[in-house]
Symmetry: C2
Subunit: 806 residues, 2 copies
């Protein structure tokens, strides 16, 4: 135990026994009620209070659920309740272990919250029966802390994110304590293993506290856990190494454990308060130092309090207690008896009154109102969310008098807007990025954000351009998992954020995106009581097309494919073609709620096309004809040249410029797509164009050359039902590249101007005769461009540079 | 420093200075040669040995590369060389820090290996000039340890996998030492953070050693690293907590550092040998205990030995030395001078002879032949790979006399084959799975594998069904990242493996898959000197359709979309419809090389269709008509019912059974797809069907109802160019589901028999009149099925069960 807690320990009353006999009795009774409800929801569909002898027909037909961590989690919960009441704590609880929802559900029910949210699950025998039956039952609720679970901001269907979610919740919530129960299974995952370092990014002055409780119950589905099988010294070293002050609570005798836990948990709360008080009462100008925050290691048996043995095999304290400790009570009368005996060991008749409600003296053990953990508004963050105050994005517009004349970095322009957005939301907006904010040309945000958050050691040289500070609001750590976890936790508790990352490495969080999108869909479509939360805004930059020196490993635009597999109700993809469009899209995304907005925009210098007014119009429509690049003047064109993405747009325009010069009578329509889902049928995505609209843009029968940012197949996936789809010829990334100049990389994948012009010539019948010479010239340009690049290491200015003709 | 190393330290000669003055001079000179080459490749395209004054035209036009970790890595390398020679070590080197390839490249060049592999990069002035120019240059090589780099098995384009790759290399290679340099940037990633625990899975008797060297040079692109800014005590605690014995080498004075490093590294080698000797000489039957393996923390300045300052800013030892320390030597004459002075500080004239070759006395410092790190055959694992010895998979066949009569778990059948495959390859085959091998019904493998690898603490109760042992060959840890990393390292060094995982969570390794597929593509298509390695065999099981109790978070079949974005040269996807097909596919995959084979097969009980002979024929073709289910008898059918995936096949057959009974005159053709890429055009994938073949299966104009395992859009993606594509009506997963029975989940996503039959009725014009009644009945079945499930928690036997009519 730490020195700090040892000292605090001196206060302990009753000779090291913080609980009086009466308190102990009541705490234990409340815990038994939790445990009873957990077993009930795992097994019963009738006879919820066992008021008649247990029979096979009371048992669910299919037994699906997990007992393993439930009693340990409920044990933690009852001790949290005690301290919430004693110290009026504002506290939420994140359940890390997979499938441990019964602990949260039973507590929510006992607190009365569950019945408030779902009135048919009332606090009586009838309600309890429904409450039991629905669990892990077809048409009912899952065995994770799904969105349906009051008080949950962390489902944990996939493991590894509890702690980063917890930190996200704590940032900028100075009075909040976020308890995170970390399962020793999930502790083996990579994302969890590095998220312990989040304590280097938590400022005790402005942020709340995270109290991690490593629940070391020893087993996963079928194996012991690593952390349960290293030496106690190693375990302590590890957490001290991670910068925490570990407190161990270990044992299996409930009475002893209650006293231990009551003492340790109270010590931890006092330590947290002492750390905060010290940091917050320091003289103005004092830089807070990184404290060693307390954490708890709870070593309790897997499936604690279930039968010790079954058929001669160890049950409590073994992997056999991970899921259903008794597998066949319906068919095995002996096991049915065992189950009944087990359930009765909690003495339900002492805990619930005649009506089936928790008895009054235990009811009093729970906090009241919004202090009840499952009623805490931080866990239904939309309730607390206020829209961002935003500057007028038009004030950051690039002055574009004529299209295609000036070059600028789009992300740099956006960054100025974000910097001032930051200044207006200094307690409710954060920017996230894996060591790449500056690399992504967003560093001007630091001017508005007090730089980057850094609670680890500072060195004198950091003053020279390090941009680090204790108050920094840009979060950078080289872990996309941790950042995404922080971000999700931050928005789930009612705030706003913005994440930028290299395109190819956004795949690292594919699965986190999937899980969050699923959470959002359920919350949005099925749960009216969950108020809308801010969107996850994900800027994908350092794009595949500008990874010329990073090479093949950094080329992968496939995240968009992953996104399009998720529900149209919660996914949005934007490919703004220039800086003013990016501003318009950025503003829109920051105002939105309940989406994952994916924005694709490069950081390098690019030509600009639309003035602010036109950009807003274009982005509002999401797709449109660019008149300046078209010469079909209201007639049917010979060909449609379409594009989505800034670099493909630049190449497509260059192709048009070439064709307009060399094939002057060719009637070209130029279509640009910002909002990718406009391509989908309106029946399949709320943003989809109607057939009529789509045909009016793309014609019913003319060739369409579509230059796309990502894999070409994605455009086909979105458009295959369209009338003119068979004339769609799509270019995109096709896994060609290594170390190349920008133009050479475009050429390798045939999204370059020359190949596009050839595509047009090949698809407009009359050009095949008239433009044969042009085609030869185009092929020559391609060869010349590659040769020049290999000789000089850069693109030929002459070949590559172009401006739209004024 | 550990006690062990302190004791060994007593041996140190020359009063704590392990190197004689002469050795020190030569070690340092060799290191200077490395550093000189590193700077050369970053900057120069001409004048490689600075034999004329440095001018702007000698400098590359675009400066792209990273200096930061190069000198530290070369420093490690020269000390490894010393010990390889002294102790005749079999040793490879994995470079973890991103973009640190110059260190490996320069050493490969000095060892002579580079010129052997690439003769035009000869060991003379002309060769050196080419060697410099190609680096990070269009058409040249990348700045990571790409496949083109001799001695590399770890590219590190994406960070986080160096240590797990290293362990994979060490398993079953008892004499090998795998040095893994871990960057302090990558150390922040989740995958790296948990991979330190790999030491709980390494057996000192049968496995080699991993010597991690945490290279703490303090900075990432734009930030300090977390591990460099915690206290030295925390750092030591952390690694002791992870189970390592850390040795610190810290400083910046080269002479002092050489002595320190020589001593510490020799201590580490001796510790490794002592651990191995103790474990290997123990009396037979002694269980080896988990040792505390040594690791090194090298704290050296970022960009060590570059200029201390530039324009008044700190350079060496700051983030400014991460990439190019001097940014503008071409345009800034002062900086050009600074660069020249820097390069000359290494005294190239003392290091290279007139011809440009390393002088003989330094040449002698490197090991010779295959002991040269970059010539070690373990790093070109295909050279060492022997095909697996496999039992005849036909011996494990399920006896299928008639299709659709018996139910069995396909993965359980496969497991028996894998068990015996394991027995025949007890030093070159491992099975990987995240705590799910048993859950995935593969546990019979334990019978052949000595159970599961476990070097952490054992408890008495483990004897009761724990299946853990020191010799276990099934690897389970709850980290998909670690497992995939181990697996990749294992096959990259010439061995074989098999990975099973829950379908939805395979997305966790999306990005690792991408990186490995890219590595394979380059190796296979462009590098003849790299011998083929075994395929990554990835069994996706616990499928979306049988996640009925895990719910919505566990439903995601989108990994296949990610796979189809990668090169057709290295990707294969198989969806065997039953156990015999799974056996045939499994055998094929284990024999293959240079692919990622993705196999989709469920673990639950399923109907069986093909006898072994038919299964082999069917899988060899990859796609085919199932005669028993078809009644078109050589004529054009009214409808094609196609399917891919075991569960969709089962539902599609049930639909056929219904239609055959109720619409007797309907001519149905039944097509099953095992090899998904057969659907692609032959021009785009080596497995693609020709147009003629495709049309002969799917007709040119009849409706095709395609029941697909994953997202329907993937079938469209693969088939949109096909003649009959517009008549393809594909059913697949569409993000509908929660807690459902199997049939209910199928119904929600409309892949069930009833909806398929309705689809057929809706698409065959004449049925719309005649089958109206049947359609009503089908709709009624759907409602009845869902109602039954919600009432009883299971599917109605009557509605769900069926057999193919005999």
């Amino acid at each position: 135990m730490s020195n700090v807690s040892k000292e605090l320990g001196k206060d302990k009353s009753q000779g090291g026994k913080p609980l009086s006999a009466e308190e102990l009795r009541k705490v234990d009774a409340y815990w038994r009620a939790c445990n009873y409800l957990c077993v009930g929801m795992l097994y019963l569909r009738a006879n919820p209070l066992l008021r008649e002898p247990l029979k096979p027909e009371h048992i669910k037909n299919r037994l699906l659920g997990h007992w393993g961590s439930d009693p340990g989690q409920s044990f933690i919960w009852v001790h949290l309740n005690r301290l919430i009441k004693k110290y009026d704590l504002d506290l939420i609880y994140l359940s890390g272990p997979g499938h441990g929802a019964p602990a949260t559900l039973s507590n929510s029910y006992l607190e009365g919250v569950y019945s408030e949210v779902y009135p048919d699950k009332s606090e009586d025998v009838v309600g309890m029966q429904k409450f039991f039956k629905q669990f892990s039952f077809p048409g009912g609720i899952g065995s994770h802390c799904t969105p349906e679970t009051p008080g949950s901001i962390h489902e944990g269907g996939e493991l590894g994110y509890s702690l980063s979610h917890g930190f996200g919740a704590a940032f900028d919530n100075p009075d909040l304590i976020v308890t995170v129960v970390v399962g020793d299974g999930e502790a083996e995952t990579g994302p969890l293993a590095t998220s312990w370092h989040s304590n280097k990014f938590l400022n005790p002055v402005r942020d709340g506290a995270v109290l991690p409780i490593l629940h070391l119950n020893g087993y996963k589905i079928a194996n012991p856990t690593v952390l349960a099988r290293i030496t106690p010294e190693e375990l302590e070293w590890m957490f001290k190494g991670y910068g925490w002050e570990p407190h161990v609570v270990e044992g299996d005798d409930p009475a002893t454990m209650h006293q231990l836990m009551a003492g340790v948990m109270e010590d931890c709360v006092k330590e947290i308060r002492a750390i905060q008080k010290k940091a917050r009462s320091a003289p103005k100008g004092t830089e807070p130092e990184r404290p060693r925050w307390p954490m708890i290691i709870l070593r309790s048996p897997k499936g604690w309090t279930c039968p010790k043995e079954i058929d001669g095999h160890k049950l409590e304290g073994s992997w056999r207690a991970h899921q259903m400790p008794i597998l066949d009570p319906v068919t095995n009368p002996k096991h049915l008896k065992l189950l009944e005996k087990w359930m009765k060991s909690y003495k339900p008749e002492e805990l619930f009154d005649d009506s089936g409600k928790l008895i009054a003296e235990l009811k009093e053990m729970a906090p009241v109102g919004q202090r009840r953990i499952t009623a805490n508004p931080h866990a239904n963050g939309g309730l607390l969310r206020k829209p961002m105050e935003l500057p007028d994005f038009r004030d950051y517009a690039v002055k574009v008098e004529k299209p295609g004349q000036i070059e600028i970095s789009p992300t740099d322009v956006l960054a100025h807007f974000l910097r001032d957005a930051m200044k207006k939301n200094m307690t409710s907006f954060r920017v996230f990025g894996p060591d790449e904010t500056a690399s992504n040309k967003l560093q001007v945000i630091y001017e508005g954000s007090h730089g980057k958050t850094w609670m680890a050691k500072m060195l004198p040289e950091d003053a020279d351009g390090g941009d680090l500070s204790r108050e920094g609001r840009v979060m950078e750590i080289l872990s996309e998992h941790t950042l995404e976890g922080w971000f999700e936790g931050y928005v789930l508790t009612g705030r706003h954020g913005f994440f930028s990352t290299y395109e190819s490495f956004v795949h690292i969080i594919d699965s986190m995106f999937n899980q969050h999108a699923k959470w959002l869909e359920k919350s949005k479509l099925e749960l009216r009581w969950r108020a809308p939360i801010s969107s996850i805004n994900l800027l994908i930059t350092s794009l595949v097309w500008r990874q010329d020196h990073n090479g093949f490993t950094h080329q992968d635009p496939g995240f968009l494919d992953v996104v399009t597999n998720k529900s149209p109700e919660v996914t949005r993809i934007y490919l703004p073609p220039d800086a003013n469009c990016l501003l318009s899209v950025g503003d829109h995304c920051l105002r939105s709620s309940n989406y994952v907005n994916v924005i694709v925009a490069d950081k390098a210098l690019h030509l600009q096309y639309l003035n602010m007014e036109d950009a807003v119009t274009h982005c509002t429509k999401g797709i449109g004809i660019w008149d300046f690049a078209s010469n079909d003047a209201g007639e049917e064109p010979d060909v449609v040249i379409a594009c989505a993405g800034d670099i493909p747009t630049e190449e497509a325009l260059a192709a048009v410029a070439i064709l307009r010069e060399r094939c002057a009578d060719l009637k070209i329509r130029f279509v640009n797509v910002v909002d990718l889902f406009r391509l989908m049928p309106e029946t399949e995505h709320p943003h989809g164009l109607s057939e009529r609209e789509f045909d009016s843009l793309f014609t019913k029968d003319k060739p369409v050359i579509f230059n796309f940012h990502a894999y070409a197949s994605l455009v086909h996936k979105l458009t295959y039902k369209r009338t003119n789809h068979e004339n769609f010829h799509v270019r995109g990334y096709k896994e060609k590249g290594n170390i190349n100049t920008p133009l050479e990389l475009a050429i390798l994948n045939q999204i370059d101007r020359f190949d596009l012009a050839i595509d047009v010539i090949d698809r407009v019948p009359r050009l095949q005769m008239t433009a044969a010479h042009t085609k030869e010239w185009l092929k020559g340009q391609i060869i010349e461009a590659v040769n020049y690049a290999h000789e000089n290491g850069i693109d030929s200015q002459e070949i590559r540079e172009w401006k739209w003709p004024l």
